[in-house]
């Protein structure tokens, strides 16, 4: 029988946690403050775009080896990092040897199989000593702009093995006695591009590890070591109890679902499918991924720890969103996952890079599997793929430039919930990033962001509407090489729930200047269907004649041209998938539909077709003059309800 934390009396609490309840709570809160402070320091002082403009990092605090490295605190940042960090610290320090550590050290590891995520995401781990006693670890995982391999900046689904993928760093000492170890730095700098940017980034990371250490030691000085260590256990116990309570409220049963991605970077003959069987009994859950497709032949794979993260994020979203995400959240959850699938890839052939593209469907599979069990609490699916665009070239003076995750379809819609309509411009559910500012992009790159707007009728219809798909055009002023990675275009990722409809399909096109030179014409690309006939499809389900999105059309394969070479004035257009709707669209208040028409989330035709709402007026020239024809709406809804 497990005793609730709230039912412990003061003596029991103090005996268990080495501090009174108030002190343990203060220390838990202070640990969250510390990791957030580390992130703020990094954000304010980072140099490379992926850190400064994307917030592509996360900070955690872990307990010492004798506690088995519990992760007691995570920053409010990139969730894809958070589920991997407890194992990353345990695996890195266990291999390096905790007995080999001393104050002033920083140990690094970026191996996806040891530490999760991809090789650009280096874990910087600093031990914290109280006197001679190793009491904790502060960790910053931060994306490095480049980590070698055959693709500048790395973002590509076409790399075939770990050797093409980039530099793999086993647990390695980077600082000793607070002095940089030159050979370790040079291991990175002799293998990676853009070292002049990496060096100040790493020094900033180091400074913020020291900040975290300093703040922990101040806490220890004030409250004592035993109270600090007790607060680490308390923090994880709070998460464990919250998840246990949430699990207990789900109906017992066996729930199964499938999800997947379009293909890998070799060819489009293989759909990669995730199978999940979720067994729920009382306060426990087991997720078995047996039957999932074998690992892919290129770098679209994810590692085991990334799949663990996706499971945790999915369950936090669905049933326990209010409490911090520590390693304790997994206490009553077991994951069964054989090695060698595309969500548990193994070296050397199972290259891991676009890991979120494979684990995003893990999250969606959990959403699908539990939809019926959740009822009104079900959550619609998001746009499903970061659609990352990576490009590089040189300026007229020979200066190299690179853009990473700035000019593709990286931001898009979420799915609706019981609480209301979905956001239409965020990042995928497993991320929690910023959107690079257009001004920052255009000031540093020979690129012009011509358009960011929502596509009407793309969000899944529902009592609460799914987010609208994002349409984004980017003009490149120089010749360039491009890697485009839209990996979820064959079927909707924006799962509709509780009677809601799924969102629309996305796609990607390139408009070569010989087909349509927007600079010479001095005009934006139109968004009407006619424009696509002159485009070159990059990815998506398209009508082969019109090149418009067509769920029954032909699949165009993103790596049919592994590297897209373009002349000056090429334009890439990304259209994301739409988010899923929640609830029966015929129950949406017609006045809300009218507002959507006014705001161009829904067209007059879409209102009639998808919601059974008849609207009169001109949304473009007289948006406030729109009216709902109530009698016609009642008739139309009766027709639709009868089908």
């Amino acid at each position: 029988m497990t005793v609730s934390l709230k039912d412990l009396d003061d003596a029991q609490f103090t005996e268990r946690y080495g501090a009174d309840r108030f002190t343990a709570t203060v220390l838990s809160s202070r640990m969250r403050y510390i990791v957030q402070h580390m992130c703020t320091g990094l954000l304010n002082n980072a140099f490379s775009l992926i850190l400064r403009d994307w917030y592509d990092f996360a900070a955690t605090i872990s307990g010492p080896p004798e506690q088995n490295y519990p992760m007691s605190s995570v920053s409010n940042s990139l969730a894809m990092f958070l589920g991997t960090m407890s194992e990353a610290v345990r695996n890195t320090i266990s291999e390096y040897g905790p007995e080999n550590l001393r104050p002033g050290d920083v140990v690094i590891c970026n191996d996806p199989y040891r530490a999760g995520n991809h090789v650009n995401d280096i874990c910087f781990i600093r031990p914290v000593f109280a006197g001679d006693r190793l009491i904790s670890f502060v960790t910053l995982r931060a994306h490095q702009l480049d980590m070698g391999g055959v693709v500048p900046a790395g973002f590509s689904g076409t790399k075939r093995n770990v050797y093409e993928n980039g530099l793999v760093i086993a647990p390695t000492l980077l600082y000793r006695d607070d002095q940089p170890i030159k050979s370790a730095f040079n291991l990175i700098f002799d293998n990676a591009r853009y070292c002049a940017l990496l060096l100040p980034d790493i020094k900033t990371i180091y400074a913020n590890l020291r900040l975290g250490e300093q703040l922990i030691l101040e806490s220890v000085e004030r409250y004592g070591v035993e109270a600090y260590l007790g607060a680490i256990r308390y923090s994880t116990d709070v998460s464990a109890e919250a998840m246990r309570t949430a699990l207990a409220e789900l109906p017992d049963g066996v729930y199964e679902a499938e999800e997947g991605i379009d293909c890998d970077g070799i060819d489009d003959t293989i759909d990669y499918r995730i199978k999940v069987k979720i067994t729920k009994s009382g306060p426990r859950m087991e997720l078995d991924f047996s039957g999932t497709s074998p690992q892919a032949r290129t770098s679209i794979n994810a590692g085991i720890l990334d799949t663990k993260t996706a499971v945790g994020v999915a369950l936090k979203f669905l049933i326990d969103p209010a409490t911090p995400f520590t390693s304790g959240a997994y206490r009553d959850i077991d994951i069964v996952l054989p090695a060698g699938t595309f969500i548990s890839a193994t070296p050397p052939d199972g290259a891991v890079f676009l890991y979120w593209e494979s684990t995003g469907p893990v999250l969606l599979a959990v959403f699908r599997a539990l939809e019926k069990a959740l009822g009104r609490k079900a959550v619609g699916g998001d746009y499903g793929s970061l659609n990352i665009h990576n490009a590089n070239g040189v300026l007229d003076d020979g200066t190299p430039w690179v853009t990473t995750a700035q000019c593709g379809g990286e931001h898009g819609p979420w799915g609706a919930t019981e609480a209301g309509d979905a956001d239409s411009y965020s990042v995928v559910y497993q991320a929690n990033n910023l959107d690079p500012a257009t001004e920052a992009i255009e000031s540093e790159l020979p690129a012009v962001v011509l358009r960011k707007e929502y596509k009407p009728d793309s969000g899944g219809a529902g009592t609460n509407r799914g987010g609208a798909a994002v349409l984004k055009d980017t003009l490149y002023l120089t010749a360039a090489e491009h890697w485009s990675s839209p990996l979820h275009t064959k079927s909707p990722s924006g799962l509709g729930v509780y009677g809601g409809k799924s969102g629309g399909l996305g796609a990607t096109w390139v408009f070569h200047p010989e087909d349509r030179d927007v600079v010479r014409r001095r005009e934006l690309l139109p968004t009407t269907d006619e424009v696509y006939a002159g485009a070159t499809p990059v990815a998506g389900m398209l009508n082969p004649g019109t090149k418009c999105v067509d769920p029954d059309g032909e699949y165009f394969y993103f790596a049919s041209t592994p590297v897209w070479h373009t002349k000056p004035h090429a334009v890439f257009r990304y259209l994301t998938n739409g988010g899923g709707g929640w609830g029966n669209p015929l129950e949406r208040d017609p006045e809300r539909v009218k507002k959507d028409v006014r705001d161009e989330y829904v067209t007059v035709e879409g209102a009639y077709r998808d919601y059974g709402v008849v609207i009169t007026g001109d949304p473009v020239n007289d948006p406030e003059g729109l009216r709902v024809d109530e009698a016609a709406t009642r008739q139309r809804r009766a027709e639709l309800a009868g089908r």
Binding site: D111, A170, I304, V336, A339
Partner: protein
Amino acid sequence: MPREEVSEEDLRALGVDVARDFPGSTAADFRRYPVLSEGGWFIAVKHQKTLESVAREPGPLLGPITLASDGLDVY
């Protein structure tokens, strides 16, 4: 993922009295297999209906992953 069968002797060795602890169940209701959870990898013996673990031994640090460098002795 294969799940090994568990004998009554195995369960007794783990201190499990099936009739007392899991009324209505038999040894056939238990399986041994690796799981990833809080604290890393474990080899768990679990009652399949209730998901209750009757044993959880720490597994290999990286679970089923074999690194290219595994088995190479540099000393």
